[in-house]
């Protein structure tokens, strides 16, 4: 973990100091990332995706802008996992480093914060990790996101559970009081109620909670059939362990979004078995893209060749943001912000990430996010049908 950050930091610094020299023939894209602080592991993932895109594009001669080809340069700035710093960093990238485009900072909260800056300066901005509708409903024109709204995760999940286990009708929800975890929990409540299930427990827990025993004891007393919990990796590691400690079992246990990360599976061990989750992408999906990566398989292959590991949805989304930006620039034939913005607004193509079309708010509306379950220590896709690797298994102990 140590080297990539240090390397990236070095790259960022040299990038910062080598500003004016090559302004003419390169496209500069700014990326404020939480390279230090609590979110630093996320920054590493984002950088992997962005760097893979930039290297692939440059290896092919660069991005085609009208008649000429321009190289891509990503300018990274660390914002220390501190949202105001992210806003500052975005502004600095635009005003000082003169970037033409922006990749949003990590997560819904920071994206929402920084979106004001890019809107103010009219810089087209791609958000690779923001899903909550609250980010996009501000009436901004320059913000585009690669994650579908949260209900596109909870809706198919609820359908699958409904179909596979008609007896499941008591749902307990425990959510971290934080933008994304809370927003998706609220969607889950809606999805459950829509299908006639009763939500017997819905509580938030504070960021930094060290003990979930009381909440879980209360949930156990409600004897739910489906437990839906949200949080960051550490929250859900602790929570899964405490469920076992309290012998809290249920036919279905869903956790978002940690099970998509190998780190969570490692830290929970056997307890990860049969936990379900959903994410916006999975390496098992199969799309024939028109972007520089081509098919999903070829993207995964390239990623594995470079990083010796399978990409997760966050890494893929970062690379997809680059690929989409490239296609929009090529379509616009210029790097003029307003024109690229229009190209993004009317974007309608298939990429390795999936079909890409942005709704009126700028959020992608065309994706069908996969639902998966940890089976035999591995994420196994159970939806959509086209890429299914297994069936939903009931019972989590």
């Amino acid at each position: 973990m140590k080297r990539p950050i240090a390397g990236a930091a070095l790259a960022a610094l040299t990038a910062v100091f080598a500003v004016a020299a090559s302004a003419q023939d390169t496209i500069r894209v700014g990326a404020p990332l939480p390279m230090t602080g609590p979110l630093s592991p996320e920054a590493v993932k984002q950088q992997r995706g962005y760097n893979l895109w930039a290297e692939t594009a440059n290896a092919a001669g660069g991005v085609k802008v009208g008649a000429k080809r321009m190289k891509v340069e990503i300018v990274y700035v660390d914002y220390q996992s501190n949202t105001p710093r992210a806003v500052q960093a975005a502004e600095k990238l635009i005003t000082q480093d003169k970037v033409s485009f922006l990749f949003s900072p990590f997560g819904s909260g920071a994206t929402k914060a920084a979106s004001g800056v890019s809107e103010k300066y009219g810089v087209p901005t791609l958000a690779a990790t923001a899903s909550s509708a609250q980010v996009y409903d501000q009436g901004y024109k320059y913000l585009f996101g690669t994650f579908t709204p949260n209900d596109t995760l909870t809706e198919p999940l609820s359908d699958i559970v409904r179909k596979a286990a008609p007896g499941v009708h008591r749902v307990a929800i425990l959510a971290r009081n934080d933008l994304f975890p809370l927003a998706i929990a609220q969607e889950m409540e809606k999805s459950a109620k829509k299908r006639g299930m009763s939500v017997v427990y819905f509580e938030k827990y504070a960021i930094g909670t060290l003990d979930h025993a009381s909440a879980l004891t209360q949930i156990k007393a409600q004897a739910p059939h489906w437990i839906f919990a949200t949080g960051y990796t550490n929250d859900l590691v602790l929570m899964r362990k405490q469920m076992a400690d309290l012998k809290l079992e249920a036919p279905v246990i869903t956790m978002i979004a940690a099970p998509a990360y190998q780190e969570w599976i490692d830290a929970t061990g056997k307890l990860s078995e049969n936990v379900t989750s959903a994410a916006w992408w999975h390496p098992a999906v199969r799309y024939k893209g028109k972007d520089l990566f081509g098919s999903t398989e070829s993207f995964v292959k390239r990623f594995q060749a470079k990083y010796k590991t399978l990409p997760d949805y966050a890494e893929a989304s970062a690379a997809a943001a680059g690929a989409i930006l490239q296609m929009a620039i090529e379509k616009a034939g210029t790097i003029d912000p307003a024109k690229v913005r229009n190209a993004l607004a009317s974007f309608n193509e298939t990429t390795f990430w999936g079909p890409v079309k942005f709704g009126p708010t700028g959020q992608i509306v065309s994706l069908e996010p996969p639902v998966f379950q940890i089976q035999g220590g591995k994420p196994t896709v159970i939806h959509p049908a086209a890429i299914r690797q297994g069936e939903l298994r009931l019972g989590v102990k």
């Binding site: 500052q88 502004e91 000082q96 929402k112 501000q138 009081n177 809370l182 960021i207």
Partner: protein, 304 residues
């Protein structure tokens, strides 16, 4: 006093000319420096003059930020929202002061420290009003140009810093400042001499809150997005203290000087030691405490 006032006027005029020299990056840095200046000057009222180790700056800052933001969300004009934030911080500081200023030393430090934690969680929980963990967006003024906006917030922060400075200068040369110095030296002796210690301490605490509250509100309008963990960050409290320690507590220009120096160091460290910048900051604090007690001497008191 006259000489200090003249010097201060000269200095603030000089700062006011900064936008002529620098680009937007310098303007932002200048705005941040003035905000830090407000934090440091404000802390000087309670920490430097009265000698109480307060960690409440973050609470005032966050409270002001949210008071201003919520007022604007409910339709109040920006200027009014800022004033409201100041009033909220003032009242809160008064109530808190009456309750907490009976404590001394570590107990006061810790109690004032956790106030921000409690406020943060309350704001977090009041989702309907504050947006809770989802944060709160403020309207972006679309009238002025981008440079105009940056300039506007710079001058707003400058005016606030000048106001805080003037208040500090006035206090230092008034009954209040004299009384606070007595309290800082020996509280029970001051009491016995006829100083209404409770009143004076609460007044100092209110002064240390009101400007920080307004600064929080200006900050919220400036970055137009706030969320609880950021505006209630304990580092606001710590930075205020470190800046005053650098500059020398109790002195007139110390807090401002400390703010400028601290921000320069922060920028420098942040740019050049990305990986270890908090560690370098820590090292700085340790070295300061160990080897620069001269600048810190006026704080010598109250170990209980």
């Amino acid at each position: 006093m006259k000489r200090d006032a003249l010097r201060a006027v000269a200095m603030f005029v000089l700062i006011a000319l900064l936008p002529l020299a620098g680009d937007s990056y310098w303007l932002r840095l200048g705005t941040t420096m003035l905000m830090y200046g407000v934090l440091a000057i404000s802390w000087n009222f309670i920490g430097g003059m009265a000698g109480y180790p307060s960690f409440a700056s973050a609470a005032f800052f966050g409270l002001g930020a949210y008071a201003g933001a919520v007022a604007q969300k409910l339709g109040a004009p920006m200027g009014f929202a800022w004033a409201l934030a100041g009033a909220a911080a003032l009242v809160f500081a008064a109530a808190l002061g009456v309750a907490l200023l009976r404590l001394r030393g570590h107990y006061f430090a810790i109690a004032s420290l956790v106030v921000a934690e409690v406020l943060r969680e309350l704001v977090n929980a009041a989702t309907d009003l504050t947006g809770g963990g989802m944060g709160l967006n403020l309207p972006i003024p679309r009238l002025a140009s981008i440079e105009g906006q940056a300039m506007f917030f710079f001058y707003a922060m400058l005016a606030l810093a000048a106001l805080a400075f003037a208040a500090m200068l006035a206090a230092m040369h008034s009954r209040l400042g004299f009384g606070l110095r007595c309290i800082q030296q020996n509280e029970s002796a001051a009491d016995m001499l006829g100083v209404n210690t409770t009143l004076y301490k609460v007044a100092a605490f209110m002064l240390s809150g009101v400007f920080v509250g307004v600064a929080g509100a200006i900050y919220a309008s400036w970055v137009h997005y706030i969320e609880p963990p950021d505006v209630f960050d304990v580092l606001y409290s710590v930075k205020a203290i470190v800046m005053v320690l650098i500059g020398g507590a109790g002195s007139v220009f110390g807090p401002l000087f400390g703010a400028a120096l601290f921000l320069s160091l922060e920028e420098l460290v942040w740019r050049n030691y990305l990986q270890v910048h908090t560690g370098v900051l820590g090292l700085l604090i340790v070295l300061l405490v160990l080897f620069l007690p001269k600048g810190l001497i006026s704080l010598r008191r109250r170990t209980a």
